[in-house]
């Protein structure tokens, strides 16, 4: 059996699963130390069916902890940045576009050095080992052990970044190095930004992973620990210690993957209604549709692949006002819902109070909203429904109606018809779709590189790309016999005949789960 856990800013949810069956679920409060919240969530699902810790084969955790650290500017370390580029890119040094408050925390130890590649693989300049030794010695003297290294066109050729990392190990062995080619895609500033963020999170990552491990130790669970990354696939705890930034978009991805799993729908619109916002995304073939534009995290531009999610300010805690017509949100009481909402004895009229007053849901004490003006209740109820329907309509890619999966704790807010939906699916366990999304995740490998189709031939080039993505998936722990290529994208480069940027993603089942499943089958 396996356990999926979602550690959010407000709630820590857990789901115990056996194969495709959801055995038990729970929702608990996130704790400051992270660890005790995870312990209580896992204890709760184990206790519900009287399962022993030994019956757990693998634990998967999704967390927004690192995203929140970046947004709230806490737990971030000082970082030294080395860019292999000279004489190119001098006009735009690293961190040029960072907000002042975060740039101050990260520091200004920025070094440009000889190196980097052209789009066609030629070198801009040879790497100069002596120059780099001097730079690293300077960083060591300043005592900045977290180092981010980027190189021009590293996604095309990682050799120089790898060589630079060797030199760091030689001169400053205790330093922790993040290389840009392992983090992001073509687009130097954005990839470098993500690399720096990763280096800044390095200390926190060790602490958080340690907190997760402590939780499992306390529960006497010896199963391997995996953590969700941006695209909904898993990485090992050791990987997260090195690449915490890769967990950034795992929240919405897990929720959509969980919704797909629970509803059995592959192509649908997922509406995740929480306390403050409603997030609407599109499932294509069981995976979230990706956003194409750049994504800002805590005011810093990155080019991660993120699910294309539309957020509107409607949630269970949304404030309702009736000055100049009825309004819903975007302000919300958030996690204070159970103190501030009328049905819980509070003084604030929220969206939750409206659906209780309308008789659609039972929550808190319905008698506390009995005296609300019925016309206000009806107008607000209709408005909430209409806003959700409009959001669905906005993300649809064709005029045709699409199936809609409602998930999240606030799904009860939808009380009427959704004209944009062909059907509305409210799957069982939908309030913990995030944790279930973590529990069902596979492992993957992705590459994003420029190939010369004229020199290699298109098919041969795509074969190389698929092979590399497969290798990366195997490295990440995928069982080779289960690996499938789920995404191939070719983008021809303007001006450059034959040069094509290729993005390939491969996913497969986790070795551990498959082995455990087979063990289970043998026992039967």
């Amino acid at each position: 059996m396996r356990i999926g856990v979602d550690v959010g800013g407000t709630n820590t949810d857990a789901a115990l699963m056996d194969g495709d069956a959801v055995v038990a679920t729970t929702k608990t409060a996130t704790t400051r130390d992270v660890s005790s919240g995870v312990v209580s969530a896992i204890s709760a699902v184990l206790a519900e069916k009287g399962q022993s810790p030994a019956s757990i084969d693998v634990v998967m955790i999704g967390t927004t902890h690192f995203t929140n650290a970046m947004v709230e500017r806490r737990g971030l370390a000082r970082v030294a940045v080395i860019r292999l580029c000279l004489p190119a890119t001098r006009s735009l040094p690293p961190m040029i576009d960072w907000p002042a408050d975060i740039a101050e925390i990260i520091g200004s130890d920025v070094y440009l050095a000889k190196g980097g590649y052209e789009f066609d693989g030629r070198k801009i300049n040879d790497l100069d080992p002596d120059e780099l030794r001097g730079i690293v010695a300077d960083i060591k003297r300043k005592g900045v052990p977290n180092i981010a290294i980027s190189s021009v066109f590293a996604p095309l050729n990682a050799e120089m970044e790898q060589r630079a990392a060797e030199i760091v190990r030689e001169v400053y062995p205790e330093a922790r190095v993040t290389l840009s080619y392992e983090i992001g895609r073509v687009g130097l500033l954005e990839r470098e930004n993500a690399t720096i963020i990763n280096a800044a999170l390095a200390d926190l990552a060790v602490d958080v992973v340690e907190a997760f491990r402590n939780a499992l130790r306390e529960l006497r669970i010896s199963a391997p620990l995996y953590i969700s990354q941006n695209d909904g696939t898993l990485m090992s705890a050791e990987m997260v210690e090195r690449y915490p930034v890769l967990t950034f978009a795992s929240g919405p991805t897990n929720s959509m993957r969980g919704a797909a799993f629970l509803s059995k729908a592959k192509d649908a619109i997922v509406v995740d209604i929480g306390g403050t916002t409603t997030d609407v995304g599109v499932l294509v073939g069981g995976f979230p549709r990706q956003a194409s534009s750049r994504v800002e995290i805590g005011g810093v531009r990155t080019n991660f692949r993120m699910p294309d999610v539309l957020s509107i300010g409607v949630g269970g805690g949304s404030l309702i006002s009736d000055k100049d017509g009825v309004k819903v949100g975007p302000k919300s009481v958030g996690y204070r819902l159970t103190e501030e909402a009328l049905v819980f004895g509070g003084k604030t009229l929220t969206a939750s109070d409206i659906v209780v007053a309308a008789g659609a849901v039972e929550m808190g004490d319905p008698s506390l909203v009995r005296d609300l003006d019925p016309s206000l209740v009806e107008a607000a109820r209709a408005l909430i429904n209409q806003k959700v329907n409009e959001a669905i309509d906005r993300v649809k890619t064709s005029a045709a109606k699409a199936p809609v999966i409602l998930v999240g704790g606030g799904a009860v807010l939808v009380t009427g018809d959704l004209p944009a939906a062909s059907e509305v699916i409210r799957p069982e366990h939908s309030s913990v779709a995030n944790a279930i999304g973590a529990a069902i995740a596979q492992v993957g490998g992705e590459i994003d590189k420029v190939y010369d189709f004229n020199a290699l031939g298109r098919e041969a080039a795509l074969d190389i790309a698929r092979g590399e993505a497969r290798d990366r998936a195997i490295e990440a722990g995928a069982d080779p016999s289960t690996i499938a290529i789920v995404h191939v994208e070719e983008i021809p480069l303007a001006y450059l005949p034959g040069a094509v940027r290729v993005n390939v993603k491969a996913v497969g089942d986790l070795h551990a789960t498959k082995a455990q499943r087979m063990k289970g089958a043998a026992a039967e």
């Binding site: 004489p87 190119a88 890119t89 001098r90 006009s91 735009l92 040094p93 040029i96 576009d97 980097g116 052209e118 789009f119 030629r122 801009i124 021009v152 066109f153 073509v186 687009g187 130097l188 500033l189 599109v282 194409s292 534009s293 906005r394 993300v395 649809k396 890619t397 064709s398 005029a399 983008i491 021809p492 480069l493 303007a494 001006y495 450059l496 940027r501």
Partner: protein, 373 residues
């Protein structure tokens, strides 16, 4: 604009965001990512101080004027970030050929990335920046500028890469310069600095499209002010109507992107996108492009055509969307906007009218097309 002090204004760091957004609008879908230009300008202003932007009339007739731009593949330029050193070195090469040091910097293309590059160069060189450009928008080829309409030659033209390696091209005509430059640019790493159309102050006064840096700032500011008030389109249109060039304008279509066809040929991004109307009547707008949006049509009825601007904007925020930024399902508003009157002459249309882009229809002004619709 508060900074207008009699004779020009300082391009300070706080103007850059709005200037970049306005440049993206005037890019009409192309012109490269103004974000990189804005960041380059920001770094230059922080290092060297804000350059002074002046009307062309403030420049002496005999003053040598040089253009400043980056040239290359947008997909390469986001990785091998072109520097102002490269642009500066291209200008220096032309200064040597011409035997005349620059007295002012002139933008060549106000749409997109190259609106902000001259700001950075003028800051570094400490030279005045002329409030003008050669098209009042963006175009895909070097010879598509009002300078060329006026008989100014593209060459001598200099391209320079990050190593300081440069080539000076002297070609028999402007199209030959463009072809030669394009070949060299690829060989030199597909992201280089360029300076072309060297001219004197009198020529700049006669042949440029004037006031366009101020206009880019004004457009960007109108969008951000409007956004704060919740009516970015009203604000933008009200501003455009107050300008000398872009005053014939309107929203010609509102809908959702339902089809995208994008390919790369001859070094250009070519394609078409279809937008399905919000009205529920099933009508579709087709916008075709070659780097920039060229023409917007419903069925066989043209609503805007080059050199007038077709701009696609996010339906809520009025953020300009480039051809690379288009994607399925986006909610957009499409605007038709008149170009500068100087861009509509017979000679101008021969260079960058519909037929120069292989479109078999005559130019008709957007104001006639919108009224007819």
């Amino acid at each position: 604009m508060t900074r207008l002090s009699g004779n020009g204004f300082d391009v300070t760091a706080d103007l850059l965001e709005d200037m970049a957004r306005g440049a993206a609008f005037l890019g009409a879908g192309g012109g490269g990512d103004p974000y990189l230009g804005a960041m380059t300008a920001l770094h230059a202003i922080q290092t060297y101080g804000a350059p002074h932007c002046v009307p062309a009339s403030a420049i002496g007739d005999d003053d040598p004027v040089y253009t400043a731009a980056m040239m290359g593949a947008p997909t390469v330029m986001v990785e091998k970030l072109t520097g102002i050193e490269e642009v500066e070195a291209a200008i220096a090469a032309l200064e040597r050929v011409m035997g005349k040091p620059a007295k002012a910097i002139l933008p060549a293309e106000i749409g997109g990335l190259n609106a902000l590059v001259p700001v950075a160069v003028a800051a570094k060189r400490g030279l005045p920046l002329i409030d003008a450009d050669g098209m009042g928008r963006a175009f895909p080829e070097l010879q598509m500028v009002t300078f060329a309409v006026d008989g100014v030659s593209t060459s001598p033209l200099a391209v320079c890469n990050e190593h300081g390696e440069y080539h000076v091209i002297n070609a028999r005509n402007n199209k030959a310069s463009e072809d030669a430059a394009r070949r060299l640019v690829i060989e030199m790493g597909a992201a280089v600095g360029v300076s072309c159309y060297p001219m004197d102050g009198a020529t700049a006064k006669r042949s440029a499209v004037h006031g366009t840096l101020s206009l880019a700032y004004g457009i960007g500011k109108a969008i951000s002010d409007g956004r704060r008030r919740g009516d970015p389109f009203d604000s933008l249109i009200a501003y455009l109507k107050s300008t000398d060039y872009y005053n014939k304008c309107g929203i010609i279509f509102s809908g959702k992107v339902v089809d995208l066809d994008r390919r790369t040929e001859r070094g250009f991004t070519l394609g078409a996108c279809k937008i399905l109307s919000n009205e529920g009547d099933g009508s579709e707008l087709e916008v075709i492009y070659q780097n920039e949006y060229l023409r917007a049509r419903v069925g066989d009825r043209t609503l805007a055509i080059v050199p007038d601007l077709t701009c696609i904007l996010d339906a809520e925020t009025a953020e300009p969307i480039t051809t690379e930024g288009l994607r399925y399902g986006q909610r957009v508003k499409v605007m038709g906007v008149s170009c500068a009157p100087v861009m509509r002459s017979k000679a101008a249309l021969d260079l960058f009218g519909p037929r120069a882009f292989g479109l078999d229809e005559p130019f008709r002004p957007v104001e006639d097309l919108i009224v007819a619709a």
